[in-house]
């Protein structure tokens, strides 16, 4: 049975806090790019950019701040799973050279997706710095990767499954955990 771990309000609060932390660490919204990793990371990046636009008067509009970074072609498990269909990569008009890029994903787990994202990013340009924001950090890292901004730390067992559901895709905002009582 799925157990709810984050509610709509929890998610919103987490993203608001992340947005503040990003602004704080970047000392404002200049030279900043928020790149979501498909599928749900793109939605989260967009929400963060919107939040930043609300709280920071000088921030660029969300469309110029947020984009997407597809990592399919850089994954290390392409030969091991079913063929994945890639999603488009869309960079904000300013590109990423010399910018601070904040990668956004829904769940941080093994770290392999982020490893792929760093490679993908390197082929697109040379950012000044790369940061990582995730809604949920569930542990079990297989790579030396850590998140700079975390919505919620959620220690979990490997056999458990974390589901992030978002309005724009799933029609609701919720994070649930499954398989814990199996």
């Amino acid at each position: 049975m799925a157990r709810a771990v984050l509610s709509r309000a929890d998610i919103q609060r987490g993203l608001t806090r992340i947005s503040h932390e990003i602004l704080e660490s970047n000392r404002g919204a200049s030279d900043l790019v928020i790149l979501g990793i498909p599928t749900r990371g793109v939605v989260l990046a967009r929400r963060i950019a919107e939040t930043i636009a609300r709280i920071e008067a000088e921030a660029p509009p969300p469309a110029e701040l947020a984009g997407s970074l597809d990592v399919t072609m850089y994954r290390d498990d392409l030969a091991r799973t079913r063929t994945r269909t890639p999603a488009p990569t869309q960079l904000p008009p300013g590109g990423i050279d010399g910018m601070t890029v904040v990668l956004v994903d829904d769940v941080l787990y093994s770290g392999r997706t982020i490893r792929a994202a760093l490679d993908a990013l390197a082929d697109l340009g040379r950012p000044r710095a790369v940061r990582l924001a995730v809604l949920v950090d569930r542990g079990h890292r297989e790579f030396p990767i850590r998140a700079d901004f975390v919505g919620k730390n959620l220690p979990s067992a490997k056999h458990e499954r974390i589901n992030v559901r978002l309005d724009e895709i799933d029609g609701e905002d919720a994070v649930t955990i499954e398989g814990g009582d199996a």
């Binding site: 597809d70 072609m73 850089y74 392409l78 030969a79 091991r80 799973t81 079913r82 063929t83 994945r84 269909t85 890639p86 999603a87 488009p88 990569t89 490679d119 082929d123 697109l124």
Partner: protein, 316 residues
């Protein structure tokens, strides 16, 4: 996708998925770093039993931009009898650990035989077989049309209602066959125009209108006119009297080109016989997609190789 042998058996969803992935690949072609690590460690063999430098370098570029190792194997003019060499060559490639084989062969059906024989485990891409199919050419043609029509909003779209006239040696053209099946699958409306000698004897099963009159076919201002190459050897086998009559009756000359609206795309799979099936002015006009077709060929072939060579082997 296990193999890409024909457009005949591609579903609409499969075709659109491939075209959409080709859009992503095209985006990569516009960056400074044009290479993806996707097929690192994979080996792609270009197995060409027939000369075709353009097709081979297009596949070679596609494979290299996906970081695959590429081996070019030209089996033309081999001293072994034709039949033995296909099997023997396949077994050689198997021993070399080829993951993908791109095969061009003068015999219709040879890629299917290679894929179903059990001689190799590799995924097989048909790069043109006899007078049968040339699926990646049709896919790049469809990709080119879709991009011209829909631009950045191409993803997910088909070619519903697009009116296409294909002109020339339909009988011997694998490009025409692959295009007819694919364009029909994508919802386009296809008309074939040729001298009766260069049409199949019974095209009743083809999802296309058939005509002999090019002017009549061009009168309603189609969205696309695709001119096929006339092979020199046809002229000596009584398919038509001579090149002058051919070009006058079935060529896209200046007068016919001038009657087309500027929105009509002019396509040609290349290499062109300027002055025979297509006049230089039409070939070099902004309406001509000939150069885009070449660039798009690499993107479409990257998408095909990605679909064939990623994922677990044996994936449907």
């Amino acid at each position: 996708m296990r193999h890409l042998l024909a457009t005949r058996d591609l579903s609409r969803d499969e075709a659109i998925e491939l075209l959409d992935i080709a859009e992503d690949m095209a985006a990569v072609q516009e960056r400074e770093v044009k290479k993806l690590p996707t097929l690192r460690g994979k080996t792609v063999v270009n197995l060409f039993f027939e000369d075709s430098t353009r097709t081979r370098i297009s596949f070679e570029a596609a494979a290299k931009r996906l970081s695959a190792d590429v081996i070019n194997f030209s089996a033309k003019g081999s001293s072994v009898s034709k039949g033995e060499s296909l099997k023997d060559t396949a077994q050689t490639l198997q021993a070399m650990g080829a993951d993908g084989v791109v095969v061009r062969h003068p015999s219709s059906g040879a890629p299917l035989v290679l894929a179903t024989s059990g001689w190799i485990d590799a995924g097989v891409v048909n790069a043109g077989d006899g007078t049968h199919e040339h699926p990646t050419q049709a896919l790049l043609d469809a990709f080119t049309m879709r991009r011209r029509l829909h631009g950045a909003a191409s993803r997910g779209r088909d070619l519903d209602g697009v009116r296409i006239v294909i002109v020339g040696d339909i009988l011997h053209s694998r490009v025409a066959r692959s295009n007819v099946w694919l364009l029909d699958t994508l919802g386009a409306d296809v008309t074939l125009v040729a001298p009766p000698t260069l049409l199949p004897v019974d095209p009743s099963g083809w999802p296309a209108r058939i005509g002999y009159d090019l002017d009549a076919a061009l009168a309603p201002a189609p969205d696309v006119v695709m001119m096929l190459r006339v092979q020199a050897e046809r002229m000596h086998a009584a398919f038509f009297p001579n090149s002058r009559e051919y070009s006058r009756t079935w060529g896209l000359d200046d007068a016919r080109f001038d009657r087309l609206p500027p929105t009509t795309m002019v396509m040609h799979p290349g290499p062109m016989n300027r002055g025979l099936e297509i006049a230089a002015r039409a070939a070099d006009s902004p309406q001509s997609t000939v150069r885009e077709q070449v660039a798009n060929g690499v993107s479409v072939r990257m998408a095909a190789l990605y679909l064939l060579l990623s994922g677990e082997r044996g994936d449907a």
